[in-house]
C-alpha cells in the first residue's frame, strides 16, 4: 500500500504544485503587493501563477504515463496526461490574457482561483471513480462560478455568475443523483467495475435514468444543446480571462472526463457502436441527437448575433456538437480525434479571448463593430485574430480544419451512414459551411471596415503579443503536422 501511496503522491504532484502556487500568490500579494500599484500586482500574480503552471507542466511531462494509481481511483493513461498538459497550457494562456486585459481589483485571488480551477481540471482528466470525478468537477465549477462573477463593477458579470451557478448547481445535483443511482445499481464507484456489472447485468429503467442524468451534466459542462443556455450570458458577462478559461480548459477537461465515464464506465449502455446489434435506446443515440441539435442551433443562431462574445458563445455551442460527435466516434477509433479537436478548439478560443482582452483595454469590445479597423490599430492582433477565427471556421492549414476533418472521418468510419454519427457528421459539414459566414463577418470588421474616426494605434504588451503569436503558431504547426498530437494515441 505504501508504494501505492508513493505513486499516488507522484501522480498528484502537479495538483500539489498548483495549490501551493495559489497560496504563494495570495501570500505574496498580501506581503509584497501591499501599497503597490495594481499593474505591478497583476504582473506579479500572473508571473507567479505562470511559474506554477510551468512547473506543473514540467512535472507532468517528466512523470509521463503512470497508469492506474490509488487503487484505480485515478488513471494516468496517455489521454489523461495529454489532457492534463493541455489544460495546463490552456490555463496558462487564459492567465496571460490578464496581462493584456483590464486590470481588476484583487488580482492575486483571481489567479489563485484560476489555479484551483485548474487543479479541478487535472482531477477531471484522470478520475476513474465516480467520487473523484465529482470532486474534480465541483472543485473546478465552484472556482469558475466565482471567476465568472469576478468583475464587480459590471452587473452583467454578476448576472453571468448567477446563471452559471444556478444551472451548474442543478446539473451538479442531477449528476450526483445519477451517480448515486449508478452506485446503487452496481455497488461500485469505479468506472471499470461499473462497466463489468453492467455487462453481466443489463440495467433497467433506473439505469436509463442514471445514464440520462449523466448526459445532462455532460451537456451542461460542454454546452451541448439543450443544456447550453448559460453559455451566451456567461461568455458575454464574465471577465474575459474567465470566459477564456470556461471556453477552453474547462471544455477539454469535461470532454475527457465524460469520455472516460461514458465509454469505460457506461460503455455497455451505449447501445453499442453499431446500434442494430443491441437495439436502440443506448446513450449513443441520445448524444447523436444532442450533437445534431447543438450543431444546428449553435451555428444558425450565431448567424444573427451582433455581439462578438455572444457570437462566440453560439459558435462554441456549435463546436460542442462537434465535440459530442467526437465523443461518439471515440468509441470506435479511440480518443485521439476527440482530444485533437478539443485541444485545438480550446487554443483558438483562448486566442480570440486574448485578442478581445487586448482590444477592450482601450475601447469597449462588445459588438462586432467594435472590432472595426483593428488592422490599423494593431496589425499583429488582427492577424492573430484571423488565424484563430479561421481555425474555428475550419480552414486549412490551421488546426481547426484538421480537427473537424479527423472527427468527421472517424464518425463516418464507424459504419458510414449506417450509424447516426455518420448523419451527424454530414450535418456538421453542412453547418461548417454555414459557420464560415459569421466568422467572415468577424474578420470583415477586423480587416475591412474603415472606422469613422481614425483609430489610435493600440499598445500591445510584449508578453501578450508573444502569447498570441505562440497560440497562432501552435495552431499552424498543429494543423500542418497533426501527427504531433494524433501520433500520441
Amino acid at each position: 500500500m505504501t508504494g501505492d501511496y508513493g505513486a499516488l503522491g507522484r501522480a498528484l504532484l502537479p495538483e500539489g504544485v498548483l495549490v501551493a502556487t495559489a497560496l504563494v500568490v495570495i501570500l505574496c500579494d498580501l506581503v509584497w503587493g501591499r501599497g503597490r500599484g495594481r499593474e505591478s500586482r497583476v504582473q506579479a500574480s500572473v508571473l507567479l501563477g505562470l511559474l506554477g503552471l510551468v512547473a506543473a507542466c514540467v512535472i507532468l511531462w517528466q512523470e509521463g504515463v503512470l497508469g492506474e494509481v490509488g487503487s484505480g481511483a485515478l488513471n494516468l493513461d496517455f489521454l489523461a496526461v495529454a489532457v492534463r498538459v493541455g489544460v495546463v497550457v490552456l490555463s496558462g494562456f487564459s492567465l496571460l490574457t490578464l496581462v493584456g486585459g483590464n486590470t481588476r481589483s484583487q488580482p492575486a485571488e483571481y489567479v489563485a482561483l484560476l489555479l484551483f480551477a485548474t487543479v479541478g481540471f487535472l482531477q477531471m482528466a484522470a478520475a476513474q471513480t465516480l467520487l473523484l470525478a465529482f470532486l474534480g468537477l465541483e472543485l473546478a465549477s465552484l472556482s469558475l462560478y466565482v471567476l465568472a462573477g469576478y468583475d464587480r463593477t459590471r452587473p452583467e458579470s454578476a448576472e453571468a455568475a448567477l446563471k452559471y451557478y444556478l444551472q451548474g448547481g442543478v446539473s451538479a445535483a442531477v449528476l450526483l443523483f445519477g451517480f448515486s443511482l449508478l452506485y446503487g445499481l452496481t455497488g461500485s464507484i469505479g468506472f471499470r467495475e461499473i462497466s463489468l456489472v453492467l455487462v453481466s447485468n443489463p440495467p433497467g429503467a433506473l439505469g436509463a435514468v442514471a445514464v440520462g442524468m449523466v448526459l445532462v451534466a455532460f451537456g451542461y459542462k460542454v454546452a451541448v444543446a439543450p443544456f447550453h443556455l448559460w453559455a451566451p450570458d456567461v461568455y458575454q458577462g464574465a471577465p474575459t480571462s474567465s470566459a477564456a478559461l470556461i471556453a477552453s480548459a474547462s471544455k477539454l477537461a469535461g470532454v475527457a472526463l465524460f469520455w472516460r465515464l461514458l465509454w469505460s464506465g457506461l460503455g455497455p449502455t451505449s447501445g453499442g457502436v453499431n446500434l442494430s446489434s443491441s437495439g436502440p435506446g443506448g446513450w449513443v443515440l441520445v448524444v447523436a441527437v444532442m450533437a445534431a441539435a447543438s450543431l444546428l442551433l449553435g451555428n444558425l443562431v450565431a448567424l444573427a448575433q451582433r455581439n462578438l462574445r455572444r457570437l462566440l458563445a453560439y459558435s462554441a455551442i456549435g463546436h460542442a456538437g462537434g465535440l459530442a460527435l467526437g465523443l461518439l466516434a471515440a468509441g470506435e477509433v479511440g480518443p485521439g480525434p476527440l482530444f485533437y479537436y478539443a485541444a485545438t478548439y480550446g487554443l483558438a478560443t483562448v486566442g480570440i479571448f486574448g485578442c478581445i482582452a487586448l482590444t477592450e483595454r482601450e475601447t469597449s469590445c462588445a459588438t462586432l463593430e467594435d472590432l472595426a479597423g483593428l488592422w490599423r490599430r494593431s496589425p499583429l492582433v488582427a492577424a492573430c485574430l484571423a488565424v484563430f477565427v479561421l481555425s474555428l471556421a475550419g480552414i486549412p492549414p490551421l488546426a481547426g480544419f484538421f480537427g473537424k476533418f479527423v472527427v468527421f472521418a472517424a464518425a463516418l468510419r464507424i459504419d458510414g451512414l449506417g450509424h447516426p454519427a455518420g448523419w451527424v457528421a454530414l450535418l456538421a459539414i453542412v453547418m461548417s459551411m454555414v459557420s464560415l459566414y459569421y466568422y467572415l463577418i468577424v474578420l470583415k470588421q477586423a480587416w475591412l471596415v474603415v472606422p469613422p474616426t481614425p483609430p489610435r494605434r493600440m499598445a500591445v504588451p510584449l508578453v501578450a503579443s508573444l502569447a498570441l503569436v505562440a497560440a497562432a503558431a501552435g495552431l499552424v504547426v498543429l494543423g500542418v503536422f497533426p501527427s504531433i498530437l494524433l501520433g500520441l494515441f
Partner: protein, 505 residues
C-alpha cells in the same frame, strides 16, 4: 522537374515577402509579386521543357504525412496537371501586371493574391485527396478579402456570395470524400485507395457520393445552375482577381471533377452522365443568352466565362477521350482568354473611363481614345468566340466531336451556344469600343474625339500582360499539339480507363 514541388512554397514565401515589401513601398510590393509570379512561371516552364509525357502520374514527392489516417504528402504531375500549372503561371504573371495600379494596402493585396495562387499550384500538384483538399481550401479565403477590399460593384455581397458558394462546394466534396473513406473503409486518401473504397460502396451510395463530389467541384467550375456566384463575384472583384478567378480558380473545380470525381466513380458517372451533359449545355446557352442582354460590360464577360466553362463540363460529361482532352485544353484556353477579357474591361477601360455601362461607353469614341485596348479586345473577343487559330477552337471542336459521339442533341445545342457566344461577343465589342465608329466623315470623328479628354495610353505592364496572354492563346491555337501531347497520354492512364468505357454500356 525536381523543382516543381517548390512552386507552392515559393509562391507562399513570395506572399510573405510581398506583404513586407508592400507595406514599405507599393512599388517594391509589386516588383516582389511580379518576380514571384515569374519564378512560378519559370519553374513551370522548366518542368514543362523536361517533361516526358506518360500515362501515369509522375511522382515528385511521396512521404508519410499523417500516418494515423494513411495520409501522404504526395505530389505528382501528369500532362493534365502540367497544362494547368503552366496556365497558372501565365495567368498569374499577367494578373500581377494588370494589378500594377493597385495602390491601397498593396502589401496585403499581393500577399493574399499570391497566397491564393500558392493554393492553386498546390491543388494541381496534389496526388493525395486530403492534400488536394487542403490546398483547395487555402485558395478560398483570400478571395473574400481580395474582392471585399479592393473590389467594386457590390463588392461585399459579391465576395461573400462567392466565398460561401466555394466553401459550400468544398463542403460537398469533403462530405463525399469522407463518406467514401468511411463507408468504403479506405486505407488512406490517395487516389488509388479511395478508388478502391469507392468500388466497395453500393450503387445507390456511389451515385449519391459521386453527386456530392462532382457537384461540389462543379460549383467552383460554374456549372449551371450552381454558377450564380460567378458573374457577381467576377464583377465585384478587382481586375487582377477577376482574371485569376475566371482564369484559374474556376479550373480548380473542373480539375477536381476530372481528377477525383470521374476516376473514383465510373459507374455512378455513367448513371449521371445524361444529367450532367444537359446541365452543361443548358449553361452554355443560358449564360450566353444572359450575356447578350447585359448592360454592364463586365457582366457580359462574367457570363461568358460561365458559358465557356459549360464547354469544359460538357467535355467531361461526354466521357469521350477526345472530349476530355478538349475539356482540359478548353480549361487552358478559357483561362488565358477570360484573363485577357477581364484585363481589358477592368484595367484598360474601367480605370480610364470609370464606367462599365455599355450605353455610356457607346457614346465614347473609345476606338480612338484607347485604340490599343480596342485592338486587344478584338483579338480577345475573336479568341473567345472560338475562332479557329485561337486556342478556343481546337478545344471546342474536340468537345463537339465527343458530344456527337455520345449524345447528338448535346452537340446541336452546344453548336447553338457557339453561335450565341459569337453574337454577344460581337455585340459587346461593337457597343463598347466602336459605338462611334461610323460613317465616312472621318474628320468629324476626329473632332468628336478631341472633345473628350485624352486618355492615358496603354502602359508597359498592360502591354506586356496582354502580349503574354495573346501569345499563349495564339500559340496553343495554332499548335494545340504542344498541350495535347501532354494531355492525351495522361487521359489514357488506367485511372481513367473505366470512366472512358462506362460511357458506352
Amino acid at each position: 522537374m525536381s523543382l516543381l514541388p517548390w512552386i507552392p512554397y515559393v509562391t507562399f514565401a513570395g506572399a510573405l515577402l510581398a506583404y513586407v515589401a508592400g507595406s514599405r513601398s507599393a512599388r517594391a510590393g509589386r516588383v516582389v509579386a511580379l518576380l514571384t509570379a515569374l519564378t512560378g512561371l519559370g519553374l513551370a516552364l522548366t518542368a514543362a521543357a523536361a517533361f516526358v509525357p506518360g500515362r501515369e502520374l509522375q511522382t515528385l514527392v511521396n512521404r508519410a504525412w499523417i500516418p494515423e489516417l494513411g495520409i501522404r504528402y504526395h505530389l505528382a504531375v501528369d500532362g493534365i496537371s502540367l497544362t494547368l500549372i503552366v496556365l497558372t503561371g501565365v495567368a498569374t504573371t499577367a494578373a500581377v501586371l494588370f494589378s500594377w495600379t493597385v495602390s491601397e494596402r498593396v502589401g496585403e493585396f499581393f500577399a493574399l493574391f499570391l497566397g491564393l495562387i500558392g493554393g492553386v499550384y498546390g491543388v494541381f500538384l496534389s496526388a493525395d485527396v486530403f492534400l488536394f483538399f487542403v490546398f483547395y481550401e487555402i485558395a478560398i479565403v483570400p478571395k473574400y478579402f481580395l474582392i471585399a477590399l479592393w473590389g467594386s460593384t457590390r463588392r461585399e455581397y459579391g465576395a461573400m456570395k462567392l466565398v460561401l458558394y466555394s466553401f459550400a462546394g468544398s463542403g460537398l466534396v469533403l462530405a463525399g470524400v469522407l463518406w467514401t473513406y468511411g463507408s468504403g473503409a479506405a486505407e488512406g486518401f490517395s487516389l488509388g485507395a479511395l478508388t478502391a473504397a469507392a468500388a466497395r460502396l453500393s450503387p445507390v451510395e456511389g451515385g449519391v457520393v459521386f453527386a456530392l463530389v462532382f457537384f461540389g467541384f462543379a460549383t467552383l467550375a460554374g456549372l449551371f445552375p450552381l454558377h450564380t456566384w460567378a458573374p457577381t463575384g467576377h464583377v465585384a472583384a478587382p481586375t487582377g482577381v477577376s482574371m485569376l478567378l475566371a482564369g484559374v480558380v474556376m479550373k480548380l473545380g473542373a480539375y477536381g471533377c476530372l481528377r477525383v470525381a470521374l476516376p473514383l466513380f465510373p459507374d455512378a458517372f455513367a448513371a449521371w452522365q445524361t444529367t450532367l451533359g444537359w446541365l452543361a449545355v443548358a449553361g452554355i446557352v443560358y449564360a450566353g443568352l444572359v450575356a447578350l442582354v447585359q448592360d454592364d460590360f463586365k457582366f457580359v464577360i462574367g457570363y461568358s466565362s460561365v458559358s465557356h466553362m459549360g464547354f469544359v463540363m460538357l467535355g467531361l460529361a461526354t466521357g469521350e477521350l477526345e472530349a476530355l482532352g478538349g475539356a482540359v485544353l478548353q480549361m487552358f484556353s478559357h483561362g488565358v482568354i477570360a484573363g485577357l477579357l477581364f484585363a481589358v474591361v477592368g484595367r484598360m477601360v474601367y480605370e480610364r473611363t470609370h464606367t462599365r455601362d455599355l450605353a455610356e461607353l457607346q457614346a465614347l469614341p473609345l476606338h480612338r481614345l484607347i485604340p490599343g485596348a480596342a485592338a486587344i479586345f478584338v483579338v480577345a473577343g475573336l479568341a473567345s468566340m472560338g475562332l479557329p487559330g485561337f486556342s478556343g477552337f481546337p478545344s471546342e471542336l474536340t468537345i463537339l466531336v465527343g458530344a456527337w459521339r455520345h449524345h447528338i442533341p448535346w452537340a446541336l445545342v452546344a453548336g447553338l451556344g457557339v453561335l450565341v457566344a459569337g453574337a454577344f461577343t460581337i455585340k459587346v465589342m461593337q457597343r463598347a469600343f466602336f459605338g462611334q465608329l461610323r460613317g465616312p466623315a472621318e474628320s468629324t470623328q476626329k473632332e468628336h474625339a478631341a472633345e473628350h479628354a485624352p486618355m492615358e495610353p496603354l502602359t508597359l505592364p498592360e502591354k506586356a500582360g496582354a502580349a503574354l496572354l495573346i501569345a499563349a492563346t495564339v500559340i496553343v491555337g495554332l499548335k494545340p499539339d504542344l498541350l495535347l501531347d501532354w494531355i492525351m497520354p495522361a487521359l489514357q492512364s488506367p485511372a481513367f480507363a473505366l470512366t472512358l468505357t462506362k460511357g458506352h454500356p
